[in-house]
Each structure stands twice: as structure tokens, then as C-alpha cells.
């Protein structure tokens, strides 16, 4: 087996890998999150995938698209990760993990179309709601920390985020169905 310490680490190879990996990382994260939605867990899996991809990078055929190749690795990493955690074992039962990623692939065009309305819907949030989204999602602040800073309870932040996602979802679906500009 080739390991990072005995493989060539020339700058060209590194640069080529990063050129392919970095644009794919966001989709890779979303692919993994379909199975393991908690952000911290999904990030951990993506990083493990990055390491595995680099180890196997010499097997990559540049004529093929990089992201699907990377997603296949990610699925294997997810399975290894899940196998060590009782909580997620059911994902391995009767091929649920494969079923979910396949279904997601079918739904992706629909999801992308819906998500094109997200920016407009984010603008419709109140300042406080927008602040919560930014703190939790964009800045990766833990709910407990946000709650402490806002002098609110953890549960109220938890519920507020749940409500915000529901509002965004309804806003997006309304825009998708009506084709309205949401102005």
C-alpha cells in the first residue's frame, strides 16, 4: 500500500489534488450530510475522506469527473464511521445508506432548483433570525454558546432554529410552486 510518507509529494501533484478537491468539498459535505446530518460529524467524515483520497490519488483517472469518484470514497468512509457507532447502525441495514444517496441523486435537480430561492428567503428573515442562522451555520457556533451569549435557554435556540428551517422551507416551496419573485 502506498502511504503519504513514501509517495511523491511534489508540488504539482499537491496542487492538482487541491485544484480538484477544494471545489468538490462542498458537494462532498452535502453528500455525507445526507447520511450523517450533524455538521461536526459530517465535517469529520469529509476530512477523513480527504486523507483517503490523497492516499489513493495516484489511482484517479483525470479523464473522469472527480466528485463522483470522491463521493464513492466518502460513502465507504461513512460506512466505516457508522460501523463504529451503535447510534447509526441502522444506516447499514438493508442498504439504507445506498438507498438514501441514490434517492438524493435523483432528487438533486429538484433540490438545486429549490435552493436557488434560498438567498431571497434568507432576506425575509428578521434580524434576530438571520443572526441565529449566521451564528449557527456560518460561524459554526455551538447552540450552547449562542444561548449563553444571547442570554436565552438552549432549548429556545434549538426551537428557534427548527422554526427558522421550517420558515425557510415553506418560503422556498412557496416560491417554487408559484414562481413568485418573493420580493
Amino acid at each position: 500500500m502506498t502511504t503519504p510518507s513514501d509517495r511523491p509529494t511534489n508540488n504539482d501533484s499537491q496542487a492538482q489534488f487541491l485544484r480538484l478537491f477544494l471545489p468538490a468539498e462542498r458537494e462532498l459535505f452535502r453528500y455525507v450530510a445526507a447520511l450523517v446530518p450533524a455538521v461536526g460529524d459530517a465535517e469529520e467524515i469529509v476530512q477523513q475522506t480527504a486523507v483517503e483520497l490523497w492516499k489513493k490519488f495516484h489511482e484517479y483517472d483525470p479523464k473522469q469527473p472527480f466528485t463522483p469518484w470522491a463521493c464513492r470514497f466518502a460513502l465507504n468512509i461513512v460506512k466505516q464511521w457508522v460501523a463504529r457507532r451503535q447510534r447509526w447502525q441502522a444506516l447499514l441495514d438493508r442498504g439504507l445508506a445506498e438507498e438514501l444517496v441514490n434517492r438524493r441523486e435523483q432528487l438533486r435537480p429538484q433540490f438545486e432548483s429549490r435552493l436557488s430561492h434560498l438567498d431571497r428567503c434568507l432576506e425575509k428573515l428578521s434580524a434576530e433570525q438571520r443572526g441565529l442562522v449566521e451564528a449557527y451555520y456560518f460561524r459554526r457556533r455551538r447552540i450552547e454558546v449562542i444561548a449563553a451569549e444571547m442570554r436565552r435557554t438552549v432549548d429556545s435556540i434549538y426551537k428557534a432554529l427548527q422554526r427558522i428551517r421550517l420558515m425557510l422551507r415553506q418560503c422556498i416551496e412557496r416560491a417554487e410552486h408559484t414562481g413568485e419573485s418573493l420580493a
Binding site: 509529494t9 477544494l22 480527504a50 432528487l107 438552549v154 428557534a160
Partner: protein, 496 residues
């Protein structure tokens, strides 16, 4: 688990936010196995969640205030990469990715928000106008933590807080940059000006509490100050942190509270458990389990210890003699249950029924200890007879408050419920015997409440005022720490 159902929605939320029980996640997966429509709904919810989480930092419209996240361990992905650090490129990946994912997250050396204030227009001295900044101000959104802190004695007119070397008036607005490290004491029954204890250092992020009679200030690190004489002593509480350094800190004591008799302290403590890791690169996994330790004051001797339920648990409610304590614990995925324990042994005395519809935001016992009141965030105040355990009243109240305080009057006839300023800030007066709201008034203050001995009036101490954001004459935002205010309400006026 059915689909669609509230249970299903809660399970998806829990999966997204890393919570929920193992059983709930297993039930979610079973529902996904059984129902294609459930799969589609789940995938769409998760897609929205992960899309938000993958949005680039340039989506942030606010400056980047950042504070140390006390108990935050190194992110798992960095831990995973640590083994690869010597392999060269993995470091490069981590570096590049880290730059993109954690840009601007450096905490200040004092673990306050200052390091993240790049981008905030420079504050031009103390010059400002009263014009409020319009739009999505970051102070209004609660994302910048005040650089002051306060604690209130539960039965005396004493507030302690941080400030500079000069006295500060209650209600003052002090420029955000003027973070102080000196102990201030207010006795609002005597003066609005603080007494400055110039040789006693107190930082805004220290965990502290004040004895009910306002005599003692206790810091989690073990310093004790007699607020009357200024005399200093120590108590061994085992340490505020497990570790603390420039790279961050691992908090041990999260919250402190005196029992009403002033003879015991309740500490919300995080206990760390190391287990052998299944990961090939990691020796151990680290988990934290919160407990409440009851310790004798001033000796520091452990009286008893019991599980604390959730992290950042709201303060428990003690009986006046300090021998009983009532706490909330999680009940399912989205509700609380109320449990009373013997505060001297930790043994459970009673679990109150019914369980709440949502979460307990405030708990209180009457002076004699015969009544227990809880504010349920679903929009109800519950009153139990603690002798029989029977629910006496279920009183509808507003449900949109992000938090609440409640307190019985000394004669036990009334209960004041103060809902945090939010969508519908309200001060509510409840007739305990009738189980009925007798007054509801809008108010802009909320906090601990102190009843007068004759039960005819009470003070609301609004000590979580946060930060105000105003505009200077050029329209640039200027920020101020807001110091506590105290407002007295007369029952007779409220009843009108």
C-alpha cells in the same frame, strides 16, 4: 414512528443538530426504510440544513465577533488530521480548509469578544448621539457578548458587577471598549452609585455567585470576598477549569448558586470521561457529563452529587431551608420533566406529573415550600402542591418568551412571572389560590425579582440588558455595555 408526524420532524431536527436519543435516531431510520415519502422529506430537510452549513463565510453580513467557546474541544476533523500532520500534504489540506472554514475565529487573549471586532468602525471616544442604528445591528442580534457581568443577591438589594476604577450608576451605558476588571457593588436600596472595591479583580467571564444576604461573593476559581468588609478568603471548589491557556479552555464549573439559607453552594460541574477509542489514530474518546455538586459553604466539603440533566441547565430551585431542590430533566426529545431531590443526599423525592409540553424556563418554590411553580415554554404556568404532588393549576400564559423568571410573594398569595423581552415581553401577576392571572402588563425589563416583606410590591432587577448599538454623528455604530436597572412594581397598581 409515523410519517408525517411531529415525532418525525423532531427526530430529523435532532439528527441535524447532533442531539436526540439513540432510540429516536433508530426510529427515524426505520421510518426511512419503510416509507419513500419519508425519505424524500428527510432528504429535503437535510439538504437545506447541509446547504446552509456549507455556505461560505462571505455570506456573513455582520462583523465577526468571536469568543472563546469554553468547553469546545478541538474539532474532530482536526483531531483526525493530527496523525497525518507529519505527512505534509494533509497539513496543507487542513491549513487551506481551516482557513476557509474558520476564518476570523481567533478569540481574544482574555477570552472576550475583542479579537473578533475587526471590521467594526472605530469608536470615536465616548462621543455619540442618541440616534439608533437602523437595520440588522449586531448588538441587537445578541451576537456580541457584553464585556461586563453581574450577579444579584436573591434576598438583598445587592448587585455585583465589573467596571473600571470609577463609580458607575445603575442604568448607565458605558462604552464597550471600557471593559473593567474591578469589582463594583451596588446596594440599590441606598444609592444608584456603585461602591468600587479597587483592589479586587473581577473579570467579565468569571463564574461567580453572591450569597442571598449579599455578604459573600464566591468565584468559581475559589476566591471569596466579604462584600461588606472587603476581606478576602478562599474556598477549594476543585478548580474552575480543567485546563486554561491561550489556545482555549476547558471549563469545569459552569454555574454556581447559593441555597437560600446561604449555607450551601450548588455547582453545575462538567465531569469528563475518557474511554478507549475505536478510532485507530485516537487513544481515547472524551465525553462530558454534567452533574450538580452541593457543597458546604464556607468549608467546601461535598454534601452530595447528582446528575444535572441538560447542559446549561437553568438554575435549580431550592426550598427556603435549602434541604430540597427542584430541577428539570429532559423528557423525550422536546420536553422537560420536573424532579425534586433531597438536597442533602441527592435522592429523588418526587417526579411531578404531568410532564411539561415543552421546556421549563423557570422554576420556583414558595417560601414555605408547599407550592412549586414552573413556566412551560409551551405557554403555561403550572402549580403543584409539593406535599401531595398533585397539580393544582395549569394557567395559560404567553408562549413566545425566550426565557422567564418567577417568584412567589412572601405571604404565598401571589406569584410574579417575568417573561424575557422578546416577541411579547410581559410581567404577569398570578393569584396562587385561584390559579388565575390577575394582571398582565407589558414591560421592557426582566430579571430576578425581589418581593417586599409585606408582599405589596416587588423589584425587577434587569441585569441582562446586553449591549446597545447607537450611531455617532457620522452614522457609524457605537456600542455600549448596559448596566442593570431596577424597577419597583406595586401590586395595587398592577391590579388596576
Amino acid at each position: 414512528m409515523n410519517f408525517p408526524s411531529t415525532e418525525f420532524a423532531h427526530a430529523v431536527t435532532a439528527a441535524c443538530q447532533g442531539g436526540g436519543s439513540d432510540a429516536a435516531i433508530a426510529a427515524l431510520h426505520a421510518a426511512l426504510q419503510a416509507d419513500e415519502a419519508a425519505q424524500d422529506d428527510y432528504l429535503w430537510q437535510v439538504e437545506l440544513h447541509s446547504y446552509l452549513a456549507s455556505m461560505a463565510p462571505n455570506q456573513i453580513t455582520l462583523p465577526v465577533p468571536e469568543v472563546s467557546e469554553g468547553r469546545r474541544f478541538w474539532p474532530a476533523r482536526r483531531r483526525a488530521l493530527a496523525g497525518w500532520a507529519i505527512a505534509g500534504l494533509a497539513v496543507l489540506i487542513a491549513f487551506v480548509a481551516g482557513l476557509r472554514w474558520h476564518r476570523g475565529n481567533a478569540p481574544g487573549a482574555d477570552r472576550n469578544s475583542v479579537a473578533g471586532l475587526q471590521g467594526v468602525p472605530k469608536i470615536p471616544g465616548e462621543e455619540h448621539s442618541d440616534r439608533q442604528v437602523q437595520g440588522s445591528g449586531f448588538a441587537a442580534q445578541g451576537l456580541i457578548r457584553p464585556t461586563v457581568q453581574f450577579a444579584v443577591a436573591s434576598d438583598a438589594s445587592i448587585i455585583v458587577g465589573t467596571g473600571g476604577q470609577e463609580p458607575i450608576e445603575l442604568g448607565a451605558e458605558v462604552p464597550y471598549e471600557s471593559r473593567g476588571d474591578t469589582l463594583h457593588v451596588w446596594d440599590w436600596s441606598r444609592s444608584r452609585q456603585s461602591k468600587v472595591m479597587k483592589d479586587i479583580r473581577l473579570w467579565p467571564d468569571q463564574r461567580i455567585c453572591v450569597s442571598p444576604d449579599g455578604t459573600w461573593l464566591v468565584m468559581a476559581k475559589g476566591d471569596v470576598v466579604n462584600l461588606t468588609t472587603g476581606e478576602k478568603s478562599t474556598i477549594d471548589l476543585g478548580g474552575e477549569f480543567y485546563l486554561s491557556g491561550l489556545a482555549g479552555s476547558l471549563q469545569r464549573i459552569e454555574h454556581m448558586q447559593f441555597a437560600p439559607d446561604g449555607r450551601r453552594l450548588a455547582l453545575l460541574v462538567y465531569n469528563l470521561d475518557l474511554t478507549k477509542s475505536a478510532h485507530p489514530l485516537r487513544r481515547q474518546d472524551l465525553t462530558a457529563s454534567p452533574t450538580i455538586q452541593i457543597v458546604d459553604f464556607p468549608s467546601g466539603k461535598l454534601v452530595c452529587e447528582f446528575p444535572a440533566g441538560n447542559q446549561f441547565e437553568l438554575p435549580p430551585a431550592f426550598s427556603a431551608d435549602g434541604k430540597r431542590v427542584v430541577l428539570r430533566y429532559p423528557q423525550g426529545e422536546s420536553a422537560s420533566k420536573i424532579v425534586e431531590r433531597n438536597a442533602l443526599t441527592g435522592e429523588i423525592r418526587r417526579e411531578y406529573e404531568p410532564h411539561l409540553r415543552e421546556f421549563a424556563y423557570a422554576i420556583g418554590l414558595s417560601g414555605g415550600g408547599s407550592l412549586l411553580a414552573v413556566y412551560d415554554s409551551a405557554g403555561q404556568a403550572l402549580l403543584w402542591d409539593t406535599e401531595t404532588g398533585k397539580l393544582k393549576h395549569k394557567i395559560p400564559v404567553p408562549h413566545d418568551a425566550p426565557g422567564a423568571h418567577l417568584r412567589f410573594s412572601p405571604d404565598g398569595k401571589l406569584m410574579a412571572l417575568s417573561l424575557f423581552p422578546g416577541i411579547s415581553p410581559k410581567l404577569i401577576l398570578i393569584d396562587v389560590a385561584a390559579g388565575a392571572v390577575v394582571a398582565t402588563v407589558p414591560h421592557e425589563t426582566s430579571g430576578d425579582m425581589h418581593w417586599a416583606a409585606d408582599s405589596k410590591s416587588f423589584d425587577v432587577i434587569y441585569d441582562h440588558r446586553g449591549i446597545s448599538e447607537q450611531a455617532d454623528k457620522d452614522g457609524r455604530p457605537v456600542m455600549f455595555n448596559l448596566f442593570p436597572t431596577v424597577r419597583t412594581w406595586k401590586v395595587a397598581d398592577l391590579r388596576k
